[in-house]
Symmetry: C2
Subunit: 70 residues, 2 copies
């Protein structure tokens, strides 16, 4: 399931930035509990919200997905 792989990828990148879920969610203007469920792979996120996250991780879509484990 793609949403789970995305969650894993987001988590590893957020941690590498040294930010908590809460701080990161705040930074990108997203609800803390919703962001947590995305990271847990439980949400079928929309592309606009995924863009918010990827921007917050300071990556391009291409880089985000090219580094994703399959």
């Amino acid at each position: 399931m793609i949403q789970q792989k995305i969650g894993v990828r987001i988590k590893e990148l957020r941690i590498s930035l040294g930010l908590s879920q809460e701080k990161f969610a705040l930074k990108i203007g997203m609800d803390r509990t919703y962001f947590a469920s995305v990271e847990a792979g439980k949400r079928n996120i929309s592309i606009n919200n995924l863009e918010k996250i990827i921007n917050g991780l300071e990556l391009s879509f291409s880089d985000f997905f090219s580094g994703m484990e399959d």
Copy 2:
């Protein structure tokens, strides 16, 4: 807006496969009119539906986004 860039990218790839919107939508099990609106960049598509489309285009997420114009 990311959804518009995605629509453009999908359209160019679908055409390169030589398929109509209808045939492609049928192939991936998606409603034709819904697919048309995604191609037109009018829908904030979810990651699971985008996955269906990208699979139908026979590409990886990475390749899909690496070829996207910005």
